[in-house]
Symmetry: C2
Subunit: 214 residues, 2 copies
DNA sequence: TAACAATATGACCGGGTGGTCACTTATATT
DNA sequence: AATATAAGTGACCACCCGGTCATATTGTTA
């Protein structure tokens, strides 16, 4: 975590450093990201940087914490509405909100992508993946609730379904890569929304032809 | 592609260089991988390396081509059996063979992981992703066939299903990460196999409780 | 054996990195 | 005005990188 000197900085300068760091860490993974570049973009001397942060890892953990906090803040309001929704609508809402978050904070979304690309184990384990843990246990709880309510077949493997739902993100990303050439949430959302619905339709109703029961 | 000098090399030395390169490119993505390290591990001088290959990219494309060729060779035999199988069995076979391939050639599997992590666009576009293109069109064709045969519901979005199936790989990887702490195909395959079956069960039969038709 | 071509070598180049530190400058307190 | 404390600076360190090139070694032909 940053030194007190960092918090003593005028707001403008502090946020300039933060946004320069976010920019760098969302373009390159931890190892490739450059402190020199961050200093250049933030117009501070290298020596100053090391008066604000202990080292590169210190900055990285700080930046990732900011992003995770922002994401949790964004999602907590959604989850509070869950009790009145079916599992299908819960999942759909989660996806749409996820896309909305990435649209509103593309830097944070890119930060997450680079995080998962990183090969530096020290850096990875230093970032508490609260977000992931939260989303996993969230899915599991949603599934259990839906089973209790009789919404979904109780014979379904909850853990498998949970991981399947988590991996849908990569399906959506692949869809955009295929359609737009890059992972971008700027395009018409209609398209992506209907793709999400197609995915959820498959998962809820299955693909097997029921008329062909032999 | 390598210079003729590379092919003039004694077999032993040539394969030593190849395996040193595979080792390096499966540990780090293109940018982070080090030519110096490869030379050290292969016991050749830096100058020698640049007599065999034009540059780093030349080596990378060569190594990736080897891996892709090996993978295609591994899968073509499987695909030839497809005509006699249902879609469910085709997909299951594809997954099991995929796991078997990664088990038999863990270096190649790691090579693919690092490839998808890489940020260097030049390096990425220089590697013709024949494998990916092949698997995508393969899935699409399998789905179309199954629809024609009446195996699966014709109202299912083929493209969405295709991307969903492709993304199942990440679900399997997450499963192993969750269960074993790392992506490793060395462990008991029983476990992974039954996880794959759980996933396929969801996709074929859906999760919605059919008794609860209101 | 002499001459020629092919190959092997590692010091070297320019440029990058994360991190340090003696020093300067600004601010606050006496 | 004098002092003490905090903050800012950039040259510098050791180490890495991908790539070059003059030179040395080897192999082959005449």
């Amino acid at each position: 975590m940053p030194q007190k000197t960092f918090y003593n900085l005028p707001d403008e300068k502090r946020s300039l450093i933060i946004s320069a760091a976010i920019q760098e860490f969302s373009k390159a993974d931890y190892n490739s990201a450059s402190i020199n570049q961050i200093c250049r973009n933030a117009n501070i001397a290298k020596g100053s940087f090391y008066q604000y942060f202990i080292d590169k890892l210190d900055l990285y953990v700080y930046i990732m914490t900011l992003a995770i906090e922002e994401k949790i803040r964004f999602f907590t309001s959604v989850i509070s509405e869950f009790h009145s929704l079916t599992l299908l609508d819960q999942i759909r809402l989660l996806f749409l909100k996820g896309i909305e978050f990435a649209k509103r904070h593309p830097e944070y979304a890119a930060l997450g992508e680079q995080f998962s690309k990183g090969n530096n184990e020290t850096a990875k384990s230093s970032v508490i993946k609260e977000g992931d843990k939260l989303s996993e246990s969230l899915f599991m709880q949603m599934i259990q609730d839906a089973k209790t309510k009789g919404e979904i077949d109780s014979s379904v493997d909850s853990f498998a379904l949970s991981l399947l739902l988590q991996s849908l993100n990569s399906a959506v990303n692949n869809y955009m890569l295929n359609k737009f050439g890059s992972i971008s949430y700027e395009h018409n959302a209609e398209d992506v929304n209907s793709f999400v619905d197609s995915l959820l339709n498959i998962i809820f109703h299955g693909i097997q032809n029921r008329n062909e029961k032999i």
